[in-house]
Amino acid sequence: MSGKLRKCVMLCCGGKPPSKDMATDSCEDAIAELQKLLSEKCGLETLAAAKIKQITAELEKTGSEPFDAVERIKSGFARFKTEKYEKNPALYDELAKRQSPKFMVFACSDSRVCPSHILDFQPGEAFMVRNIANMVPPYDQTKYSGVGAAIEYAVLHLKVENIVVIGHSCCGGIKGLMSIPDDGTTASDFIEQWVQICLPAKSKVKTENSGLTFQEQCTNCEKEAVNVSLGNLLTYPFVREAVVKKTLALKGAHYDFVNGSFELWSFDYNLCPPLPA
């Protein structure tokens, strides 16, 4: 990245593109110069962003190796086989016969938040659903059979002991939800319809946090949406039954990758026992 930033700084300053001598300058110097320039001159940010995009595209065409998708997954699989599979034959033999994960996890599809990384889930530990903004819709066999199928399988067949719904910072899905105009007009084919599952979270945040910035409201909505999803889990009778019997616990979580923090909480609910006949 340092080469691209140096060229960008020079172009923004209206100077010549960097010569070979510039190659010895540090990346940190280039970034500091650029930041100083951008803070001094308003309106340069858009220009800088456009230049960066243009230079990146040029460099990607001329300089570096083209990305080989097949090689990437081939080497990834080879590393898994030698570093994990072949080093734990007893575990993988057992897993080949059956899985008995104690967790069901809902996480966002975002490439930065895989629970196998941030919570080090190993093969066999967590039955995992990943979708936009880690949402759990309410019980509906027609509209939401996909999520329903996962929950039904996890609770009734795998008998997981915990369901954890993990939200995260800078969630594009939540931002999309918060950006839907009040008149409800949508621009996408499917995204906005999906994220509106957590409309109650948006309403809550808009009401209770109206004084906060849009970004702060989004952060709160990321967490409130997790709570809406946890509540929606209880609309599935088999989930409710397991929770009442205390064989299943529901947990919410939020991963903040900007600050490197992780929050985890138990879902607070009151379930009335069945009324006497």
Binding site: S109, E125, F127, M128, N131, G146, A150, E152
Partner: protein, 236 residues
């Protein structure tokens, strides 16, 4: 690895559970997040994954484990039996994620990964087709019924186990074809901006098969769509 499983076995009580996850997150933070601050700072600003992966929710087949995807590399959908319903089925979580990955993130590759001993496919092969089901699983895996019909036609004389194995792969191809029912996917594929791949992870033998869809030759014909492939590889 044995120690990890043991720790989770002890997390029946709420406190142990919290402690275990806290410990794991702090290890991730120390060993990865803080080791590469520039990389994680760049990721915090924006993601630009080159892959969109559709994989099963099965606990044994997370692509971050079996294909070593690192943070930022793969936008991921995980559902029962790694199914992609066609556009005409209407809105779902799968096509909302597809729309975001293809139109907003502009991923260059879509990879649909199936696997051995898939309980979802087993449910599809064994379910009765003539009655309406009250099971969520059966209602969902019915999205793969074309794959089941093809399996019964080609392998109906084989054992149940072999039919399931055949259907696991047939279903991947059916999902690949369903991807092309989305106009913005078909458009990018045709322009060479997007490649569509199928993958099959066999965890009994630890092998991985991969193939790429051959768009120019595939067509929706009167006798039924065909999935024509190229660049087939087998890794063991």
């Amino acid at each position: 690895m044995g120690n990890k499983m043991e720790s989770l076995d002890k997390t029946d009580q709420g406190l142990d559970f919290f402690e275990e996850l806290k410990h794991r997150f702090l290890c991730f933070k120390k060993q990865k997040y803080l080791e590469e601050p520039e990389h994680f700072q760049a990721l915090a600003n924006a993601q630009s994954p080159k892959f969109m992966v559709i994989a099963c929710a099965d606990s044994r087949v997370c692509p971050s484990n079996i294909l070593g995807f690192q943070p930022g590399e793969a936008f991921m959908i995980r559902n029962v039996a790694n199914l992609v319903p066609p556009v005409e089925n209407g809105p779902s979580e799968t096509n909302a994620a597809l729309e975001f990955a293809v139109n907003t993130l502009e991923v260059e590759n879509i990879l649909v990964i199936g696997h051995s001993s898939c309980a979802g496919i087993e449910a599809l092969v064994s379910m009765r087709d003539d009655v309406n089901s009250s099971s969520f699983v059966e209602n969902w895996v019915a999205n793969g019924k074309v794959a089941k019909l093809r399996t019964k036609a080609a392998a109906g004389h084989l054992s149940f186990y072999q039919q399931c194995k055949h259907c696991e792969k047939e279903s991947i191809n059916h999902s690949l074809l369903n991807l092309l029912t989305y106009p913005w996917i078909e458009d990018r594929e045709r322009k060479g901006l997007l490649s569509i791949h199928g993958g099959y992870y066999d965890f009994l033998n630890c092998t991985f098969e991969k193939w790429t869809i051959d768009f120019k030759r595939s067509s929706i014909e009167k006798e039924g769509p065909k999935c024509l492939v190229k660049n087939r590889s087998f890794w063991c």
